[in-house]
């Protein structure tokens, strides 16, 4: 998610310069574990659950959630990836090319889709994702899991499972990576 | 045939003219001198420190020629004035104005009009239109064959009586070898000397082609015209000239091979002459990459080697004249797809500047050699050397051009007098600007502007 935002925010590309480490690697692990438990609890098991990671930031997180769910419940939940490039509402305002091919593992009819992304910001990417998902069947429910909710929503979208709530300034950038979560800014 | 004459009222009201401060260049050489012209339109005196009162020209109009060259007016032996038939592209009047602005005091109109200039009536129409416009001495050529169809000869003797000295089917070449031979033989028996001019193009080889056949046509996917389409007819007409003893003039030479053939023929003493256009010594087929039909012309723009050969031919005397092949076309026909658009480019208002910028400045020609190619040589070919291209001396008719060889300007067709816009040189910076053009002593162009 940060990657995508990076390309959309002025100065359109550039280098991410971190300022503060907000979560360490261990914090990430603990949050992931907790979110996995929450998903199981909320859905009374994993019977109908499908994990869909948003390209590209949500994909590694979805994979780690998938690992955790298997470790806890012993269930191999179907997992897929979704690129929303073709569903963005800001095409013409410098949208991006898809970063990878969408891969939905099964018909979503009657399933509980857990959308996974690294950072929730304006909510527009999630709106696009909901649009994209509806082209793959009528899900029973769609839930949203994000590692960081940084505020500044522009649409009525809210997460179901959150790793960390992090108040930020609009011009700041949040980067979720293997070693943790950093707060910083873009520099040309 | 009417001589070029200024309108009577101009002549009677004038007190003569004096061109001051220029450098006179003609066939005899180059000298700093003023030129005094008496009201009748002939040169009265040439020299420094002229005593105007003694010449009776105390009230003569002063024409400033500081920094300029004063030369015999330019002569274009290959111009398309489009009248009759295609007046939307150009008329004798607009073409004459364009010619005057380009420094020309005489042009020879090409016969591929609608109807063709193949009869006395059409020749008269063109000549009368030239006199009525009064900007330039408009002479007419006539076709070799009726309607340029290549099957029957035109009444050459009748046409020659009206002053026609150049016969050509320009627009196409005479395809039939026997007919061309007969035309040459017949023309050799006329009471006045005429020349048959050939647009060299063997249609069996050029058919379907729209640009030079070679590297660029292959890349761009446009059917091409091989150099041999021109060279084969040059070869044939040299042979026929030898056979009949008759003069042949080769129009718009464009290939190295054709230039070489003419060089060899001249070395053997054959009575052949040749011309080349400014676009054939400045542009190559690479320009067509833009698919802009402004670069579509016949013969087509060729290779860099061909351009170099044309320049060499101009420098060593193989090519006797620079002729513009001024070919106006309206914007809408020139905006058609490349293969459908007609061939042709404007030339009258850029020829002198291109000659100066591309030939004199780089040292390919001296200024006098350029003027030979643009004034007295073509005048001789057109049979009007008694009036045009003459040495600037007392008694000569004052058909003169005064131009500043260093004045820099940018080619902008919206400023042209020509009715059409199709110049390939739009935006090009060139040097050499006409300041005054005098026809019979009367300025047709004064300070760079047409006077009528």
């Amino acid at each position: 998610m940060a990657e995508r935002e990076r390309r959309l925010a002025p100065p359109y590309g550039g280098v991410f310069v971190p300022r503060t480490r907000v979560m360490g690697a261990d914090d990430l692990k603990r949050a992931t574990k907790r979110m996995a438990h929450e998903i199981i609890e909320r859905n009374h098991g994993l019977d109908e659950v499908v994990l869909i990671g948003l390209q590209t930031g949500g994909v590694p997180l979805a994979a780690r959630l998938h690992q955790q769910l298997e470790a806890i419940e012993g269930v191999d939940v179907p997992i897929g990836t979704l690129d929303v490039a073709f569903y963005r509402d800001d095409i013409g305002l410098r949208p991006v090319l898809p970063e990878a091919v969408t891969d939905i593992p099964c018909d979503l009819q009657g399933r509980i889709v857990v959308l996974v992304d690294d950072v929730l910001f304006t909510g527009r990417t999630i709106r696009a994702a909901l649009d994209a998902l509806s082209d793959h069947g009528r899900a029973k429910a769609v839930q949203l899991a994000v590692m960081v909710d940084r505020g500044h929503r522009e649409l009525p979208i809210r997460p179901d499972f959150v790793g960390k709530n992090l108040p930020t300034r609009r011009d700041e950038v949040v980067d979720v990576n293997v070693d943790g979560v950093d707060l910083g800014e873009m520099r040309r | 045939m009417s001589d070029a004459r200024a309108r009577k009222d101009d002549v009677s009201e004038s007190a003569g003219w004096i061109i001051v401060g220029g450098t006179v260049i003609d066939r005899t050489g180059e000298r700093r001198a003023d030129v005094a012209i008496e009201p009748g339109g002939t040169v009265a005196a040439v020299g420094a420190d002229l005593d105007l009162a003694a010449l009776g020209l105390a009230d003569a109009t002063r024409l400033d020629a500081t920094g300029c060259i004063v030369a015999p007016g330019l002569v274009d032996i290959h111009t398309h004035l489009r009248e009759p038939g295609r007046e939307e592209a150009e008329t004798v009047e607009t073409g004459s104005r364009a010619a005057a602005l380009g420094g020309y005091t005489a042009v020879v109109a090409m016969p591929n009009t609608e109807p063709t200039i193949d009869s006395v009536a059409i020749v008269r129409q063109v000549l009368d239109a030239g006199v009525a416009a009064g900007l330039c001495d408009v002479r007419s050529s006539a076709a070799i064959t009726m309607d340029r169809a290549g099957t029957t000869l035109t009444p050459m003797a009748e046409l020659a009586d009206l002053g026609v000295r150049i016969f050509t089917d320009d627009g196409c070449g005479v395809q039939d070898d026997r007919l061309m031979r007969r035309a040459l033989e017949y023309a050799s028996g006329l009471t006045v000397p005429v020349v048959l001019a050939q647009h060299c193009e063997v249609e069996a080889l050029s058919e379907g082609g729209h640009m030079h056949e070679g590297e660029w046509s292959s890349r761009l996917g446009i059917p091409g015209i091989p150099a041999e389409a021109e060279e084969l007819m040059v070869f044939r007409d040299i042979a026929l000239s030898r056979l009949t003893g008759m003069r042949v003039h080769f129009q718009h030479l464009s290939t190295a091979g054709a230039v070489a053939l003419v060089r060899e023929a001249k070395a053997k003493g054959l009575p052949v002459t040749a011309e080349a256009t400014p676009h054939h010594f400045t542009l190559t087929h690479a320009e067509v990459a833009s698919y802009d039909p402004v670069f579509k012309v016949n013969p087509p723009l060729r290779t860099a080697e061909d351009v170099a050969a044309v320049k060499a031919g101009l420098a060593d005397g193989t090519i006797d004249a620079i002729a513009t092949d001024h070919a106006p076309h309206t914007a809408d026909v020139k905006e058609a797809p490349f293969d459908i658009a007609p061939c042709g480019m404007l030339g009258l208002e850029t020829a002198l500047a291109l000659g100066i910028t591309e030939l004199v400045e780089p040292g390919v020609l001296t200024m006098r050699e350029l003027l030979a190619l643009m004034s007295w040589n073509p005048a001789a070919i057109a049979g009007i050397a008694d009036v045009h291209g003459r040495d600037i001396a007392p008694g000569a008719p004052a058909h003169l051009v005064v131009f500043d060889p260093a004045a820099e300007w940018t080619v902008d067709p919206s400023q042209f007098a020509s009715k059409s816009d199709n110049t390939p040189y739009r935006g090009r910076v060139v040097r050499g600007k006409v300041r005054h053009t005098l026809l019979c002593g009367v300025p047709m162009v004064h300070d760079g502007k047409a006077t009528r």
Binding site: R7, F86, I91, R94, V96, T102, D131, D135 | S218, P337
Partner: protein
Amino acid sequence: MSRLVTNPRHGELRNLLSIADLGPDVAAGIGEVMTLTDSFVEVSERTIPKVPALRGRTVVSLFFEDSTRTRLSFETAAKRLSADTMNFSVSTSSVKKGESLRDTIETIEAMGVDAIVVRHSSAGVPLQIARWAQSAVINAGDGWHEHPTQALLDCYTIRQRFGDLAGRRIAIVGDIRHSRVARSDVAAFTALGAEVTLVAPPTLLPPSLEGWPVKVSHDLDEMLPELDVCYLLRMQRERMTEALIPSLREYVARYGLDAARADRLPEHALIMHPGPMNRGVEINAEVADRPNTVIIDQVRNGVAVRMAVLFLLLGSGTGWGGEVEG
């Protein structure tokens, strides 16, 4: 092949008139189209093969030359991107008079369009149109000059089977001289590192091959055992009246891919054709139905490739080419 690049601004794809327009690094440009096409292949395989990416945009087909297949391919591509389509089938007669090419474009643009897909029998028309038009212009075939989307779908089809084109030996067989497909294919295949040989009688080759990064052969039989791709061009019957080949029978005998010749191709080799086929002329009827003849794949990939091109021109803003250096 054409060295002419039409993009006025660096890093922005405004029109697709020739393969060179994907430059300055043509290989990278083609690569981006290939990657994007993967996504559109996925979209095309869905039950509802549609995405809202170009909703509200209008794509016009301006076909001066008849071609139902290519036109439908572009229209399908536009529709799958949720764009609106318009169709101008202009009769050749009004074009022959050289009438109103510019007027036609100005009329179309006045109606508010975003992209014009042009096919014309005269080379260079898409470039002329691009000079007058505000909308994006896509060349769907101009005379003998280029047919860039055909070359792109050819590259995609080869990539589907082989992974990439570098070092692949490709023969293009037939009437190269009059073929816009050949010119675009040569540009695209060689940019991707393939080794291209043109196989044709001398009369069906362009007058000059200077600057073409290809080999030439007049002997199809000697080429066959070494090829990875045998690409056959359509042999038009009109060529016989122009004395370019003595007879169709002689052409078929020397350059037609019959069963015996197809057997001599390596097992993995692909047989390709831009369509429509002249069964029994450049390709034998039985050979046309073999598994290694990927003509149907070419057609299928054509829609996805054209979706990618439309998306690049209309949907992707200025994200083309160079990344900003940090």
